[in-house]
Amino acid sequence: MLAYSIRRVVQSIVVLLVVGLVAFSMFRFVGDPIDNMLGQERTDADIERLRGELGLDRPFVVQYGRFLTNAATGNLGVSYRQGRPVASILMERAPATLELAAVSGLFAIVLGVALGVFTAIRRNGIAANLIMTISLVGVSLPTFLIGILLIYLFAVELGWLPSFGRGDTVKLGGWSTGFLTSSGLKALILPSITLGLYQMTLIMRLVRSEMLEVLRAEYIRFARARGLRERAINFHHALKNTLVPVITVTGLQLGSIIAFAIITETVFQWPGVGLLFINAIQFVDIPVMAAYLMLISVMFVGINLIVDLLYFAIDPRLRVDRTVTEG
């Protein structure tokens, strides 16, 4: 177990290093940051001077090396655009994304499980089939379009909810939260639905099919034969047994919620790290792009690592497989 864990952690670090290398080799193709940093009246000499100052004239491997050595000491560099340390920019923006991800995750799980159970129990009912079909509409349109349509309907036409941003936020230490003000909570609704819709559908379908499978299992039939009430069977026995795969998938999905918040944040002008990243691409803000990618990589690789280790601990068969294939 220990040997496996260590090997897995080492692999993860290698993965992170490779991600960084790939990213740095490609940054110069995104564009040239210099034009955004100098005004209209710049000269070619100014351009070359600044390029030299930023080290952009060096090979990408050298740039990457410098990024790594700085990152090792906790210095993520300075944003080309804002002229401020990337670490503090990320710290400012992270709460917005994390709160949005948490709320959409919650929305997806609660509604997904509830609808999943419902559609499984009423497998052939009209309502269940309707829900199954409508839920597919949600994943058959691009996220940005859903977001814009929601804004149009609920912000412009009905005027119920704000059209953009986070509303008022309250500072709790270094963390700015939108949970404590009414405008902050209102502002969360539309972006969370937009972001969580896809995951909601996914979870709902997963719960449904797992439930259907479990409901056919022997012990459920047995419970039914014993005369247990339907409700007790559905919730106590069946749902409980479907939750393990649901939790695994949800865990993996949390990572992609954060990664794919980029589009939702752009549409709703949500001031999180995704919007920061899109801005960074627009202005070729290499330090911000690099830091964001490393952050996302750490998250994904970390989640993968945890899931793998958990599986390994839980499922002894896998261990046998490993010894067979690797022995």
């Binding site: 597919l136 980029i262 990618l293 067979v324």
Partner: protein
């Protein structure tokens, strides 16, 4: 004849015939695919030919004569005076081509890597699955932007419009292969220890043959389900990439590009530029998704 009869009565087709949703979805997919394929025959205009466009036709309302030219367009025109109906047909060609090719690319890549990883194991498996981790890290948008940048540097300009399409395909395909690989690897791990595979090994079959002949057929149904769902996802992903500015070129708009153009006119009253392409995209993706749904339920014997 007997064969057809047998096929008609097989479980699979029986289940299809008795699922109205599946029948309607397939019909809709077929209609859309065919009208895309035969777009040059159906469409009244060629929206990809700049010489045929008259800017003064821009923003014509559906079924109403244009104020300047008097021309009438069924579904109106966009900002360049392109007939929306024709552009939807031509755009759907691009969307479908990108979708199909990207999924095919992802499928081939994912299935082969998954098979190899699951069957060979060891360092090969570790390397492949870690590459999959790296792949998951990069959002499709970023992959698209980076590939776009590189491709731009190495292709001659007159090929760039075509190149943009291939960039989309590679970007979407690359962000999609991992799930094929994971499923196939998992299934392979299970299959490979079964007796028939062990037996095949014992009689000296080559690993390649074992993978293709014995393991692959057993993992095909989840692959088919994933492929169908992925097709819908790929078509939507193409639209999203267009929204972020790395989509099909504006001179040859896809369905997604058209929606993005229309998005800018949502508040200005030219609702038809976004509405009709969106409906088309929805119809396409929804029917593919419904088909995928039905496939999943049908191919999963546990649910029957």
């Amino acid at each position: 004849m007997e064969r057809i009869g047998r096929a008609w009565n097989s479980d699979f087709v029986w289940s299809f015939r008795h699922s109205p949703v599946a029948v309607v979805s397939l019909a809709l997919v077929l209609v859309l695919v065919l009208s895309a394929v035969f777009a040059p025959l159906i469409a009244p205009y060629d929206p990809f030919d700049p010489a045929s466009l008259n800017l003064m036709n821009g923003f014509s309302k559906p079924m109403e004569p244009n104020t300047f030219t008097g021309d009438v367009f069924w579904l109106g025109t966009d900002d360049q005076g392109r007939d929306v109906f024709s552009t939807i047909l031509y755009g759907m060609r691009i969307s479908l081509f990108v979708g199909f090719t990207a999924v095919l690319f992802a499928l081939i890549l994912g299935v082969s890597l998954g098979l190899i990883a699951g069957y060979v194991g060891g360092w090969t498996e570790t390397a492949i699955m870690r590459v999959a981790d790296v792949q998951l890290t990069f959002p499709a948008i970023l992959v698209a932007m980076l590939i776009f940048g590189i491709a731009k540097g190495i292709t001659p300009v007159h090929m760039r419009d075509e190149m943009a399409i291939w960039v989309l395909i590679i970007a979407i395909g690359l962000s999609d292969w991992v799930q094929f690989a994971r499923v196939v690897r998992g299934a392979t791990l299970v299959e490979k220890n079964k007796e028939y595979v062990q037996a095949a090994k014992l009689i000296g079959r080559k690993p390649g043959a074992i993978m293709l002949r014995h393991i692959l057929p057993n993992v095909l149904s989840p692959v088919l389900v994933i492929a169908t769902i992925s097709l819908a996802l790929a078509i939507i992903a193409e639209a999203t990439l267009s929204f972020l500015g790395v989509g099909a070129p504006p001179t040859q708009p896809s369905l997604g590009t058209l929606i993005c153009i229309g998005q800018g006119y949502l508040f200005s009253g030219e609702w038809w530029i976004i509405l009709y392409p969106s409906i088309t995209l929805l119809a396409l993706a929804l029917s593919v998704n419904l088909l995928g749904d039905w496939l999943r339920d049908t191919l999963n014997p546990k649910l029957r």
